[in-house]
Amino acid sequence: MIDTLTHLDRLEAESIHILREVMADAARPVMLYSVGKDSAVMLHLARKAFYPSPPPFPLMHVDTTWKFRAMYELRDRMAAESGMELIVYQNPEAKARGINPFDHGPLHTDMWKTEGLKQALDLHGFDVAFGGARRDEEKSRAKERIFSFRTASHGWDPKQQRPELWNLYNARKAKGESIRVFPISNWTELDIWQYIARENIPIVPLYFAAPRPTVERDGLLLMVDDDRFPLRDGEVPVERSVRFRTLGCYPLTGAVESEAATLSAVIQEMLLTTTSERQGRIIDKDGGDASMEKKKQEGYF
C-alpha cells in the first residue's frame, strides 16, 4: 500500500503545525539561531509555515565571538533573505573578562552560552524560544517535550514536564515563566540532510570537505580559523582536507578528515561512519556521563 505522504512530508507538516501553534499563546516569541544545519532547517520550516508572511518573530544568535567566520557570513545572509530581524547577543561580562575556550575551559560555554542565553531572553522579555534540538542527538534529549516548560529562572525539571498528547500543546504559563519549543524534535540526522538536499537549503560551507589549516590537539583536529588561535610549542598548522559534522566554537569543534565535497557524498560518509554526531564536540563530555542533562537543568538549551 502506498502512502501519499513520505516520512519527510509528515515531519515537515508536523514542524509547521508546531511553529504556527506557538503563535496562539505567545506574547513575544523568538527563534534561536545557531547557524548550524539544524538551525538552517528550522528557519526554512518557519519561512514555509508563515508564507507569504515573513515569520512573525525575530532571529536571535547568542554569540560567543568564537564561531567560525563562515558562520557569521551565512547568518547575516540568511537574516537578510528571510526578512526577519536579527538580534545578536554577546554576554557583556564574558566579553569584559575576555572569556575564551583556550584559557577558561567549561567556563567558556557556561558564560557565553548558558548565561548569555538567559540574559538575552530576560533582556528582551521573550516568553517562547524556538530551538533546533533533536531527540535523537543525545539520551536526555530523547525525553524532552516539544513544548518544554522553564521556570522564571530558566530551570528545567524533568519530573515536572507536562504530558503531550496527540498534537495538542499546552502553551499556557504564568508571568515570568517561559517555554522552549523544539519544532524538529522528531527529525534524525539523516532526515535533516535529506531535507537540506530536497529543499536546497543553504548551509555553512564548512560541512563540505576542503583543504583547511588544522592542528591536531588532545585527539581532535582543530581548524586554525583566525589569528586568535594560540599555537603550542611545536604546533604548525597543516593543510588537510577536512569537514565538520557539527559546528560550534571553532576551538572546541573537531574536524574529520574527508574528501566529501557534495551533499550526497557527505550523506554517504555519514551513513558509513561508525561514530556518533556529537563525538567531535567537547561540550557533552565535561562533567561525566550525565553532563548534558545537568547543563539543561542549569538552563542550557
Binding site: H7, R20, K48, S185, D289
Partner: protein, 633 residues
C-alpha cells in the same frame, strides 16, 4: 546472535544517489512498546536500534563499559542501558517518562514511544499511545498473560490504536517451546475479544538474543513469520483511511501579510481539499469555496490529511483561529455538552464543577466536568462508582463548555475528538479526554429574548448594578461589614440585596455539604442567583468565605466586565481565631469540624482584589464607608 543482521545497505557505498532516492520514498510508522518492569522492553528497543545500525562505535564502546559496570546481563551487552536516559533512572534502574527513539530500515522510518512500566504507567502510556499507529504488547513467556497485559491492551484500544502486536518475549528462557507460545496467544485472544480487539499479530521473540526480530530464527522453526521488523514494515499506516474521510481543517492562524491577502493556515485533519471545493466554516456555518492552496513551493492542486497548508477563500467570510473549515455537504457538529472518557494525569484529583481550560484541535474554551458516571478499573475493567478521578484514574464523565465547540466522536476522527484539560491556576495539563457524543439537551434549551433588558431595569432604579463579593476567612468580619454597607446603600435609596452564606444554606443550598465539590457548587449557584439579581438591576452583596480563586474567577466571568467587585476582608488567621465569634475554630482545632478553611483546608488569597480591607487597621464602620465610596464615587 549478537552481530547486527541489518548490515549497512550496499547501495550506500555503491550508489548513494539511488539509495537516497529510495530512502526519500519511505513512509513513517509510529509505535509504542508496552510492558512491565521486567518484560524486557528497554532491551527490545535497544536491540531494534542496534540491529538497524543506529548505534555507533563510540556509543557501543560506552555501552560495553557501562554494561560491565552497572549492567544486569553479566559480561554481555545490556541493551537496556542504551535507552534509559536520565541519570536518576540509571541509578534506580527504571525509566520514569516517555522517551522517543528513531530507527530506519530499508522500507520504513520508525518513531518508537518508550514508556515506563511502574506506577505512573497509565499517564505515560496514554501519552505515548496518543500518537501511535501500532502497539507492541510485551509478555514474558515465563509468566503469560498478566493483569498488566490486560491494562496495556485496554489502554491501547481506548486510544484507538488499530494494530496490536503481541510479542511473547524471553522465548530463550522457555526453550523456544511452541506449546508455551500457543498457550499464551490463545489466552490473549480470549481476553482481547472481550475488550473489542478483534485482530492482533502474535510473534515469539527474544529481545536479548535477537530471535525473530529482524529475521526468522532457526530456534523457532515452527514459527512461519512474520518477524517483528518485517511486520512493522508492512502494516498499513492509515494515510488512505484518513484521506477517505470528509475534509476538515482546524484554523491555526490567519495569514495577513498585506491588505490583498487573507489566508487561513492549518493542518488538514482528514479528507482532501482542492480549489473550487465548497466548504463551510464552523461553528458559524457560512459557506464559500476554496480559491487557492498556498505554499512556499507554489500553489497546490490538492492537499490531503496530514499536510500543513494555507487556504484562501472566494468570499470575505469571518474566520479565525479555533474555527474549523469543513466539507460544505458533510460538516461536523457543534455542541456544548458531551459525554467523554477522561484520563486524569495530575497529582491533584479532579474537582467536579471547577472550570478548566479545554483544548480541542485549535479551540480553547472554559469547561466544567461533572462527577464521573463511573470509573473504570484498568486491571479488571470493572465499572466502579466514583465521586472524582485521582491520578491515573479513567472514568466516563459529562463535560460542559462555555460555548459550542466543533467536534467529532474520537472513534471517528481523533483530531476532532481528543482534548486536554488545563488547570487555570497552575497551567498544568491535568487530563486527556476522548469525546463520545454530544448530549442533546444543550441543543433543545434556547435563550429566550426579552423586550425589557437589564439596562432598562437598572435605569428605572437610577443605579448601576454591581456584585460586591466579600471573601475572607471565617470570622474575618465579612458579614458585619457587608451588613453595614447595605444599611448605608439603603439610606441612600439604592436597591440592594445581601446574600449571606449561612442564610443561603438554609434554603437554596440546603442539599449541599462541605466537601470541595459541594463548596464549588454552592458558589456556582450563588453566582447564578447574583447574576439574575444584577440583571434585575440590583446591587448585590455576598458574604461567603469562597476560599478558592478558581471559583471567584468563575463568578467574575459570569458578569459583564466591571460589575464584579472582589472585596478581600484581610484578617490574619490568628486574629480571626482569637475572635472566634461562632466558636467554629475551637471545634475545628478539636477535630470536630472537617475541611475548615484556614485549619485543614486552604484559603487562596485574592491576587488583585478591587478592594482590600485590613481589619487590623480600620473599624467595620470605616471599612463600610470606604467600600460605598469606591462603589458610588
Amino acid at each position: 546472535m549478537t552481530d547486527p543482521i541489518y548490515v549497512t545497505d550496499a547501495l550506500i557505498a555503491e550508489d548513494i544517489d539511488a539509495y537516497l532516492a529510495q530512502h526519500e520514498r519511505k513512509s513513517l510508522l509510529r509505535f509504542i512498546t508496552c510492558g512491565s518492569v521486567d518484560d524486557g522492553k528497554s532491551t527490545l528497543i535497544g536491540r531494534l536500534l542496534y540491529d538497524s545500525k543506529m548505534i555507533f562505535e563510540d556509543q557501543l564502546a560506552a555501552l560495553e563499559a557501562d554494561s560491565r559496570r552497572v549492567g544486569t546481563q553479566g559480561q554481555e551487552i545490556d541493551f537496556a542501558l542504551l535507552v534509559d536516559g536520565l541519570a536518576a533512572e540509571r541509578e534506580q534502574g527504571i525509566t520514569i517518562d516517555v522517551a522517543y527513539r528513531f530507527f530506519t530500515t530499508e522500507k520504513r522510518k520508525f518513531i518508537v514511544a518508550d514508556t515506563p512500566g511502574h506506577e505512573q504507567y497509565t499517564r505515560n502510556m496514554v501519552t505515548g499511545a496518543s500518537t501511535a499507529d501500532l502497539a507492541v504488547i510485551l509478555i514474558d513467556a515465563r509468566k503469560g498473560v498478566l493483569t498488566q497485559t490486560r491494562r496495556h491492551s485496554f489502554l491501547a484500544h481506548l486510544l484507538g490504536i488499530r494494530h496490536i502486536v503481541l510479542a511473547v518475549n524471553k522465548m530463550d528462557l522457555v526453550g523456544y517451546d511452541k506449546a508455551v507460545f500457543d498457550r499464551i496467544a490463545l489466552a490473549y485472544r480470549a481476553f482481547a475479544s472481550e475488550i473489542g480487539i478483534t485482530n492482533f499479530t502474535a510473534i515469539p521473540i527474544s529481545g536479548f538474543k535477537g530471535d525473530n526480530i529482524t529475521a526468522l530464527s532457526p530456534n523457532t522453526p515452527w514459527f512461519k513469520g512474520p518477524a517483528l521488523i518485517e511486520h512493522l514494515e508492512s502494516v498499513d499506516v492509515g494515510g488512505a483511511a484518513d484521506e477517505a474521510k470528509p475534509f476538515r481543517m482546524p484554523v491555526q492562524w490567519v495569514n495577513r501579510p498585506n491588505l490583498d491577502f487573507r489566508g487561513f493556515s492549518g493542518q488538514v485533519a482528514s479528507g482532501r481539499v482542492a480549489p473550487d471545493d465548497a466548504i463551510r466554516i464552523l461553528p458559524g456555518g457560512k459557506t464559500t469555496t476554496v480559491s487557492r492552496i498556498v505554499t512556499m513551493d507554489g500553489d497546490l492542486s490538492e492537499a490531503v490529511a496530514g499536510q500543513s497548508v494555507t487556504l484562501t477563500l472566494a468570499d470575505e467570510i469571518d474566520c479565525s483561529r479555533g474555527d474549523v473549515i469543513a466539507a460544505a455537504d458533510a460538516p461536523p457538529e457543534a455542541a456544548d455538552q458531551f459525554e467523554a472518557t477522561l484520563v486524569w494525569m495530575a497529582d491533584e484529583a479532579m474537582i467536579p464543577g471547577r472550570a478548566y481550560w479545554l483544548k480541542l484541535a485549535t479551540q480553547s474554551v472554559s469547561a466544567t466536568v461533572q462527577a464521573p458516571k463511573y470509573e473504570i478499573n484498568v486491571n479488571t475493567l470493572d465499572r466502579l462508582a466514583a465521586k472524582t478521578l485521582e491520578l491515573n484514574g479513567i472514568g466516563v464523565v459529562e463535560v460542559s463548555t462555555d460555548r459550542p465547540i466543533v467536534f467529532e466522536a474520537y472513534a471517528d476522527n481523533p483530531a476532532l475528538g481528543g482534548f486536554i484539560l488545563i488547570d487555570k491556576l497552575t497551567n498544568a495539563t491535568v487530563a486527556a479526554g476522548m469525546l463520545h457524543f454530544s448530549l442533546r439537551r444543550a441543543q433543545n434549551v434556547h435563550w429566550q429574548a426579552t423586550d425589557i433588558d437589564r439596562e432598562m431595569r437598572a435605569d428605572l432604579k437610577n443605579q448601576r448594578p454591581a456584585l460586591l463579593w466579600f471573601t475572607g476567612l471565617s470570622g474575618s468580619g465579612k458579614s458585619t461589614i457587608a451588613n453595614l454597607v447595605e444599611k448605608k446603600l439603603h439610606r441612600m435609596n439604592r436597591h440592594s440585596f445581601l446574600l449571606d452564606g449561612d442564610n443561603v444554606r438554609h434554603g437554596l443550598n440546603k442539599d449541599l455539604g462541605f466537601t470541595e465539590a459541594d463548596r464549588i457548587e454552592n458558589i456556582r449557584r450563588v453566582g447564578e442567583v447574583a447574576k439574575l439579581m444584577t440583571d434585575a438591576g440590583l446591587i448585590v452583596i455576598t458574604a461567603f468565605i469562597s476560599p478558592f480563586r478558581a471559583e471567584r474567577e468563575m463568578v467574575r466571568a459570569m458578569l459583564p466586565e466591571g460589575e464584579f467587585i472582589e472585596i478581600f476582608i484581610d484578617t490574619p488567621l490568628a486574629e480571626a481565631e482569637r475572635r472566634d465569634v461562632k466558636g467554629l475554630y475551637k471545634k475545628a482545632r478539636a477535630g470536630q469540624l472537617k475541611n475548615f478553611t484556614g485549619i485543614d483546608s486552604p484559603y487562596e488569597v485574592p491576587e488583585n482584589p478591587e478592594i482590600r480591607i485590613d481589619t487590623t487597621d480600620m473599624t467595620p464602620e470605616q471599612a463600610a464607608e470606604l467600600i460605598v465610596e469606591r462603589l458610588l464615587g
